[in-house]
Amino acid sequence: MLRIKIIKYFYFLFILLIILRLGYWQIIRADYLTAKGENQRLNEREVLASRGSILFSDQSTLASSQPMFLIYAQPKVVKDKEGASSKLAGVIFDLKFKDETLDEESKFKELDKLKKDFLDKLSKDLYWVSLGYKVDVYIKDQVEKFNIEGIGFEESSARFYPEGSSSAHLLGFVGSDIYGSDTGYFGLEGYYNGELKGKSGLFRTERDALGLPILIGNFLSREPKVGKTLSLNINRTIQFIVEEKLKKGVEKYGAKGASAIVMDPKTGNILAMASLPSYDPQNPSGYPREFFKNPPIADSYEPGSTFKVLVMAAAINEKVIKEDTKCDNCGGPIRLGGFDIRTWNNKYTDGINMTETIIHSNNIGMVFVSKKLGKEKLLSYIERFGFGKSTNVDLQDEDSPSLRSKSEWKEIDVATASFGQGIAVSALQMVKAVGVIANGGKLMEPHVVKAITDEGKSIDIKPKELGKPITKETAKVITNMMVRAVNEGEAKFVKPDGYKIAGKTGTAQIPVSGHYDPNKTIASFIGFAPADDPKFIMLVRYTEPSSSVFGSETAAPTFFDIAKELFLYYGIPPHE
């Protein structure tokens, strides 16, 4: 009986052990085993979403995606490492030196160096090594032709810019974030990164022992969502013209940098925006970081005489002066707060009227205007024209200079601000503000993107009116003053014949260590045309031109050069 009992206990103990062991596998290790089984059986891969395209206003491509490849090797699988290294080196050599003629010795050295690099990688005691990242389809095809066992490819994508480095500042670029994923930086790529990046898809199938998919097995396919497409207001013809003319201008005037903005004053649509020096968005790592910021929105400067039209508009709108009001203290320099204020050419005309003040860009006349207007009203108009706050343009990295608080404005500050000194603005703020004069008194919000398209559905970004700082009548008066400034001012010799263009030159000295350097200026010209029914407003700006410090001799000729091309493009005949 005892033996039967012992066998019974052993039997139950054995059963209990089996139950416990099964419980361990079925309950405690269930997730691990399920995952292990699925790993053997299921094949899962992430399908990367293409980044959305960026299109010009005519729907031609400014930025899209191109296929790129990661070339990798499995060193333990590659049999003829020497041979594979030679073949790979040959392909890279042909591509690297396709435009160069090397002598036999240099050729041999370069080839040998490349071969050694590849051999080093293939000789490593690793299962997987990367041979090339973001390699284009041409190289991939060349390598694939060799049919080397143990060399593989993985598709990815990179940005493609058919127009090269055109509009680089406007676009920004695509780089990697801390997780190695593509992310947009600066410009449109940065501002609209969320819309452009899309959503990766997932593809999961059951595989047999040979790794082939089983048709009757489990299947999951989540299609990748391609990023949204941005249609811009940027007109590629105007952008091309502006970039070409700026390049020529920088060379001709020996400037350190240049920028230009062309905007439709009626809608606030940005038609072109360009800056020099520029960079290649395909290869941003080859440029210093300072090159990446977009000067028209990220750099602040003193606008100089271009600001006069805004102060004059404020004074006329407030009816404290009229266009024929005469200045009663313009006979010579004036002293304010311990500083002498002079005209740019040290010539003085007593009794000069307000139109002549704008035509001859007279600083003393503007001080007269600022006194008539007063500090409170001047500051109120500066704010109403949109200074001291962001323009809300849809570009990353906008840096709008702030205004000093009211209590900090002294008499001398009000006087100098009237001719654009001691006040910092961005180029886009200036275009937005002067656009008020071109648009019958209405302030428009500037926009680069016209529409965002997602899977066939398009969301239009409509023009947005922000306010009406001045009346239509005031705008008309200032327009006439600006037309006369073009026809009779310093830049009259470079103006295209027969066209009615409203404009104003600006030459602002650059503050250096607490004083203004007379040889370092920012020369600019802002204007719109045709003056009676403007198609565009444009600002051209040169930083530290060396051939001449004046806007009338540098920025104005470039402005008129671009304007001539725009008249031709829009089919606008001369009015005379």
């Binding site: 491509t61 191109q66 058919p162 082939l212 048709l215 001369p574």
Partner: protein, 103 residues
């Protein structure tokens, strides 16, 4: 009971039915094996089709990029210059002379 009775009454019929059932079952089983075998071995063809689709898709992307590049203003400008085109220097605009013109 009624059916069993009928089978017992017609032994020839019952044998025929049983035989038919066995044949149908065997044929169905064979078809099942063939279908499952075909379906599970279609993987190779799927892989081949997948590869073809990928190649075509890649080719499509490359062609689209080439088309974009060829139609870029940068390329057109170079081509126009090489072909001897020049920008217009002087334009004559037709003035409105106040006379209706025949088409």
């Amino acid at each position: 009971m009624n059916l069993l009775y009928k089978f017992r009454s017609y032994p020839f019929l019952s044998r025929k039915i049983i035989l038919s059932l066995i044949v149908v079952t065997i044929v169905a089983a064979l078809i099942q094996i063939w279908v499952v075998n075909r379906l599970s071995t279609y993987g190779e063809q799927i892989i081949s089709l997948e590869k073809s689709a990928n190649v075509l898709e890649l080719e499509n992307k490359v062609l689209r990029n080439k088309l974009d590049k060829a139609s870029s203003l940068k390329e057109i400008n170079i081509l126009a210059r090489n072909l001897g085109f020049e920008s217009i220097k002087k334009i004559e605009y037709l003035q409105d002379i106040g006379i209706a013109l025949n088409k």
